[in-house]
Symmetry: C2
Subunit: 118 residues, 2 copies
Amino acid sequence: MTKQRALILRLIRESKRHMTADEIYQLAKAEMPGIALATVYNNLIHLSEIGEIKKLTFRDRTDRYDKSSIPHIHLVCDVCGKVCDHPSEGLQQEMEQRLGFPIHEYELAIHYTCENCQ
Amino acid sequence: MTKQRALILRLIRESKRHMTADEIYQLAKAEMPGIALATVYNNLIHLSEIGEIKKLTFRDRTDRYDKSSIPHIHLVCDVCGKVCDHPSEGLQQEMEQRLGFPIHEYELAIHYTCENCQ
DNA sequence: CACTTTTTTTAGAATAATTCTAAAAAATAA
DNA sequence: TTATTTTTTAGAATTATTCTAAAAAAAGTG
């Protein structure tokens, strides 16, 4: 566990958002000016592999990173683009019943207009 | 409706797969050797805008195109990577009841191990 | 049809996110 | 400590996609 890796993990855990690699890099640079973008990418891959964080892919084709690997619904506002989390207790079992076979995981993005943008 | 546009639309409608822009370009070139990759991209954007096809984004960060704009579930095999369609009657209403507000659309990718890969 | 206007196509350049490379630095193990 | 492994770094490379500007094609008009 290097200083860089600890910083990146902390930034993701402290964030309420779903940041892109570049957003994480910008925050990291503020605390550790010499950090390299490649280090951020390396660690995002590593942290995803060990299950500490979760890589998400949305329609804008930039990967975003989520502190929670617990499955949940992503609410995407089609006006402002903001992504919120929504709990989804029991959804995986419901899906398995509907389909009739076991599943590994699911990704559910729901597009709507958020309260601010109504 | 140009010859190029008609060809691209036909290729997507005839395919059972979810092709990337480049895969569509390769097929198109076989029938119309002079066609440009940019033409494929232009038409994929145009056909998506008018609702003839649907742009999908999966975890490998390449856009894929689906002949059906009727919402449905995508089953992704984590072993071979193949993507199948699965009908999902009533799922949107179920989601709206669960959430308590209207939604525009949803994207649901379910990861599993397909029959061939069991 | 002839002519004008709009849309589309084309080739290639530009962009942007991500990955790769190879050497230096840091961390870990013995 | 010394050796070994892992990580970091800067910058180059890659890849999917978008942009640009001129030529071609299609659509609209009298």
